[in-house]
Structures are given as structure tokens and as C-alpha cells.
Amino acid sequence: MLPAAAMAEGMPQMDFKNPLTISQVVWGAIIFIVLYILASRFALPKVGAVLEERAAHIARDLEAAQASKVKADAGSAEAIAAVAKARAEAQAAINAALESAKDAAATQAATLNARLEKQLADAETQIAGARAQAMGALRQVATETAATVVTRLTGRAPDQQRLDGAIGAALTARGVG
């Protein structure tokens, strides 16, 4: 597009005879140094300070959040432990109540049983007594009856001793002696 020769002779950048070509560099150096001083002394530290402050703030907040989390965890653990403890206590109370109720019931049943047992024994004793009485009466009745029958049949009173022996043997044979 552009002939090389025209470029070489026409390039203002290569025109070092022009004092402006070098003077712009001198001025450029001065401007750059001023820019450097202003930026490095004032502008950039200002940005750096804000960024550092923000980083510190974030770190501080994170730390606080971490601490709160630890505290909350501890609280939650405490609450869980308390609930577990309460539950264990309640269970123990229930167990104790059940146990005592069972014991009371058992005692009551035992006394009732004993009473019934006693009544039964009493009744049995009474029955045995009545029976013995009845049996005793039976021997007397049998002796008298036998004496009467023998007297009627033979006309004379039987021998008391033999009669008793026979009655006793008969009763023993029937299982009521």
C-alpha cells in the first residue's frame, strides 16, 4: 500500500533532525517521573489501604462468624445433652414407678393369697375336725347299734372288748377308722 522508500523518507518518527523528536522523549521522561511519584506516593497507597482495610474487615467478620459458629455448636451440643439427660431421667422415673407399682401389686397379691391360704387352712381344719367328730360319733353309733343288734339277736349283751375290736376292724377296713 505504501512504497518502502516513501515510508522511510516520510516517517516523522524517524525524523531525528526535528528537535521535537527528542524533546518529546525528554518531556515524556519528566511526565512519567511525575506520574510515578504521584502514583506511588499518593494514588496507589490509597487504593492499597482501602483493599487492605476491606481484607482485614472480611477476615475479622469471618473470624467472628467462626467464633459464633463454635459457640452455637457448643450450645446445640449442650441442648442435645440436656434433652438426652431429661429423657434418661424420665425413663428412670417411669421404670421406678412401674417397679414400685409391680411391687405393691405383688405384695397385695401375696397378702391376699396368704389370707385366702389361711382361710382355706382354717376351713380344712374345721372340716377335718367335723369329720373326726363325725367319725368318732360313727364308732359310738356303730358300737351302740351293734350292741343293740347283738342283744336283740342273742338276748345278751355282747362282750364289750370284742365288740370294740370288731367295730375297729370293720371301720379300718372301710377306711374311716
Binding site: G10, P12, W27, A39
Partner: protein, 252 residues
Amino acid sequence: MAAEGHSSIDALSQFALEPALGAIGHSVNFTQANLMMVAASVLVLALLWIGMRPRAMVPGRLQAAAEMCYETVMSMCTEQIGHEGKKFFPIVFCLFFFILFGNFIGVFPYFFTFTSHIAVTLALSSFVFILVTAVALERHGLHFFSYFVPQGIPAVLAPLMVLIEVISYLSRIISLSVRLFANMMAGHVMLEVFGSFVVMLGGAGALYLFPAGLSLVVNVALIGFELLVATLQAYVFAILTCIYLHDAVHLH
């Protein structure tokens, strides 16, 4: 079409230096390039100063922009140079934003691009070179010269390798300055050429309106491209400065 004989496209006069600020500027050879340098510096400082004035915990737009500028360059320094990078942060920041704002200002029509002057970019790259060498000498003393002797090479090849290393070290000045200068100049020449096309074709009659419009479209695209190049070249200059500083601090 412009290459034919009577060229009316004067793509290079835009780079001509003129005294600025009237008689005073004339007497001290203060050029419009220097005026743009002042403008760029003032804009950088204003962005930082006005942007950071609220000192807000949650930044507004301008403050966020200022902080982003700060943190971009800071991370560039610490990532490239290491933890010593903080010491070089102000200089890298100034270089980056001086060049970046210079490039940006140049994209505006009628504004001068001081980075399109080899003298300026050469001065900047020489400054970087001197800084890097001074840092290296200050850090490592004479041991710095071992930088030019690659490790584990045969003794026969050593002189050649040292020569190549020295040349490549010195050529940093040229590559750093010419890269920036050539990119900026080429972009502005293209803008001027296509701008001239628009004017010339637009004035040449109804038949040429379409190519004139096309040139305008190209120019719009070129301006977008120039913005990219402006940022990229400033970034490249800054990142290379960081890499050179890393070499100076760590010697490989």
C-alpha cells in the same frame, strides 16, 4: 489505488510532531505528544484519586474500576515476579497504564498517539532494560553475568552460547519498543488509509458510494480492533517487564 503516482493519501503526516500549548510550548519544545502524555497521566491519577475517594467497603462503579486496575497489575506482578513483585508494582502499574491510556487516547480522532513514536517506545524499553539490569546487578552482583552462560553446555559451545545469550538479552530493548511502536503505527496507518478511502470514494460520485460505505464499515471494525491492540500491547509490555524482572530477581 493510492500507490499510483500522485498519492493523495497521506497516512504518515498524522505522526508529525508539532509544538503544543502555543508560544510557551514552542519555546520549550513541548509537543502534542507530551500533551497526550500529560492527559494519559492525569486520567490514570484521576481514575485512582476520584475512584477511591469514597473509600467504600462495598465499592461503586468507579471505585471498582480503580480497584480492578490495581489488583490486575498487582496479581500480574506477584504471579510473574513472585512475592518480591510487590516492590515493583508501582513501576509496572505506571508503565502499563501510561501506555494503555496513551493507546486509548490515540484511538480518538484528531488525538495523537504518543506510543506510535519509536523514540518514545525506545525510551520506555530502555528504561525497562536499565531497571532490569540494575535490579539484577543489585541482587546478584557479578554473579548476574552467569545468566549468560546456560547450564550444562559443552565448553566448546560456551563462547557461542554466551554471545547468543548476550545478543538476545540486548535485543529485548529493540523487541519491546518495536513491537509497541509498530503495532500502534500500523493500526493508525490503516485507519488513515481507510478513512481516506471513505472521503475520496464518497466524493467521487454515486458509483463509488458502495465501496465508500464498505471502507467506513472496515474502519469501524478497525477501531474495535485498535482497542484490542491498544490493550493487548500495553499488557504485553507490562507482562514482559514483569518476566524480565522475574529473571533479574531469580536469574532463571
